[in-house]
Symmetry: C2
Subunit: 408 residues, 2 copies
């Protein structure tokens, strides 16, 4: 894409009430716009990143047999009353419609997916299965000051699984846990993300979170470097030890929760009486699991975890463009290189604007594409281009004819 065609630009002024690093940076770089506290628009650069995160998550959910669905934002009050959460869940947005009925704006979908599953589950033959969606969630947050990390409206992937018994859930839970690790590796957070033991609520000893270490993280976790796992502060007591190896030498760090997986058991199948017939003809409650990842939260976390003082350093897998091509008044050659790279399927943001070199460099650093290619009088004198990796200190001079082998 030619940067002169992009309707957004990098900004110098920020909304006064925006205090989070991720939103400040994404606003400045033109990835998002703020509509209200905790409510953002995704602009073209932001949509490109979200599309890539979405694709990675979708592939991994399909790899564990997830069937894609899309449930609505609205659910009738009765569904939420059935589980007791109409009154208990303080982040639930409630709305009245002109049919005189009340609805929740779903912050999660157990109250929709369980009645849905009930329409199709009769016997053990239908089990197990799992469904996922990538869909907008709503939470009536009192404080929505963490940018994309805690929105009133946000994009989430949620997967729900249905099993005949606990053993089958346990097995699937491990498969999904492994898929989550693949997702965090693929979006570039693998090194900094820990499977973290957290509270299991009423029905299980533990649930598990995936926590990414970042300097502004809201959570405190205790990391066992031997087992590469962590424990959330919420379940730490004085005698805290690694739940796997018993190691007492845990390291404290700040982190952001980027995913969670939870053995629901029969917590939601019971209120909706979601049962199946066993082979012996007995009616048993279905055993459920749920597994969440926030897509907008991943985008915000990557910005918090992968940046320097000049801007974002996108992992290649989710960068809006692989290459940021900058022309310093050498548009004819630059245009040719732009077309050649595109013909090879490389995603290029081509800065063809009539701006000073310093402004173009500052924008490229802020926007954070993995490779910056510079075309200038100086480089052309050497039949070359200047190639700089966003994550590297130094640039290198590369012959024009060799550039593809560096960025392909």
């Amino acid at each position: 894409m030619k940067q002169s065609h992009l309707f957004t630009r990098t900004l110098k002024e920020l909304p006064k009430d925006e205090t989070s690093y991720n939103a400040q940076t994404l606003l400045r770089a033109g990835f998002i716009d703020k509509v209200a506290a905790g409510v953002y628009s995704f602009l073209p650069l932001g949509c490109l990143v979200m599309d890539k995160i979405r694709q990675i998550i979708k592939e991994e959910m399909l790899s564990v047999g997830g069937q894609e669905v899309s449930m609505p934002a609205f659910a009738p009050k009765e569904n939420w009353e059935a589980t007791g959460r109409w009154d208990d869940l303080d982040v639930l947005f409630k709305i009245s419609a002109s049919d005189k009925k009340e609805y929740a704006l779903n912050p999660t979908h157990e109250e929709v997916v369980t009645p849905l599953a009930k329409k199709f589950i009769y016997s053990y033959r239908e089990l197990p299965f799992s469904v996922f969606q990538i869909q907008t969630k709503f939470r009536n947050e009192k404080r929505a000051k963490a940018g994309l990390l805690r929105g009133r409206e946000f994009l989430m992937k949620d997967l729900y699984s249905f099993h005949a018994d606990q053993a089958d859930l346990d097995k699937y839970y491990e498969e999904v846990s492994a898929a989550y690790e693949r997702i965090f590796n693929r979006v570039g957070l693998g090194d900094k993300t820990y499977l973290t033991f957290a509270s299991g609520g009423t029905f299980a000893k533990y649930s598990h979170e995936f926590q990414t270490v970042t300097e502004f993280g809201e959570d405190l976790i205790y990391i066992c470097d031997k087992c590469r796992l962590a424990v959330n502060k919420e379940i730490i007591d004085d005698q805290s030890t690694c739940p796997k190896c018993g190691n007492k030498d845990l390291r404290e760090d700040k982190a952001v929760e980027v995913g969670n997986i939870f053995k629901l058991g029969t917590k939601y199948s019971a209120p909706f009486d979601l049962r199946y017939s066993t082979q012996a003809g007995k009616k048993e409650l279905v055993v459920m699991g749920c597994y969440g990842i926030g897509l907008s939260r991943i985008m915000g976390t990557v910005v918090e975890a992968c940046h320097d003082d000049k801007g974002i350093v996108w992992p290649e897998s989710i960068a809006p463009f692989k290459v940021h091509l900058i022309s310093l008044k050498e548009d004819e050659v630059a245009e040719k290189i732009y077309n050649e790279l595109i013909a090879k399927g490389i995603e290029v943001l081509y800065d063809d604007r009539d701006l000073a070199a310093g402004e173009k460099f500052a924008d490229a650093d802020l926007i954070g594409c993995p490779y910056r290619i510079l075309v200038s009088k100086k480089t052309l004198a050497l039949e070359s281009l200047e190639l700089k990796k966003r994550s590297a200190e130094e640039a290198q001079i590369v012959k024009i004819k060799d550039i593809l082998s560096y960025v392909q």
Copy 2:
């Protein structure tokens, strides 16, 4: 996909309050589930159709230079007060958040996109540009009885364009109109869809709708067969003539509005004072256009326009699967054919279930994939398969080795 893995199945019982043909059929066939009046979940088969409609629309929006964005469902009350629509628009859902502020659940996004554009438009140099999104809309409908044709919550593509003057808008409007024709052709509604003159509201003589002729359509249109265009009843008077050729011999038909395009002029730039500097340094209001297509509405309209008494007849471009492969107790051969077709990139729903032939045929007709391939003892005796196009009366016998050339 193997049908035994699909968690949904075709249903015999329908929600009592569902009276629309499109929703009844999509519910029976397992494409959607009803959560409340005008509120549906999309199930795996429905998601596959929606993905294809989405991809076609996205490609055509990119082809007219649209830049993708994703604006939120929430917008602050102030935005809607600025245009006077907080009080005037009766379908606006209003909601209070814990920050003591009121928000609208956007049924359309002029109140969000205009302030967004204002952040980036300074001078004529930034114009023209256009942005689009594929996003969930909310309308507080009094009656939501038309299935996917009139939801409280529905998926829509909306494109907004920004221009320096009316002439530039007029030119772009024609480009988008042509893109819309391509979209309706590609989703299989081209033959039955007419560019239709409708009321232009306060600011233009006409707006334009795209109306698809169907037996259950809620709108009445008057078609000029000479010009292949139509006039909506709402602007018909006694002396009605074709606006293009003056033909008075117009033909009345029932139709569903599947898209609309509208020259907004300065209707929304004025209240938000969205201006640009002309080359002479004068400050002028930006001229806007807006262009909508409902994705869920297209899905519903296709079902109303393309069916027979046995079920849906999906156009190939948006069918959930191209081929419905049915095994009548010949699973070994069927599995082999299934794998071969998939290896060639053909999308196959493979009915590997242990059911009677009649049930499998009825399901295939109801679900409506373009090609049905049958593997049975009888066909295998001839080293053949039975191939039936969903839209054809008769099946044909095709040698196994030739099947690819028929469905590729």
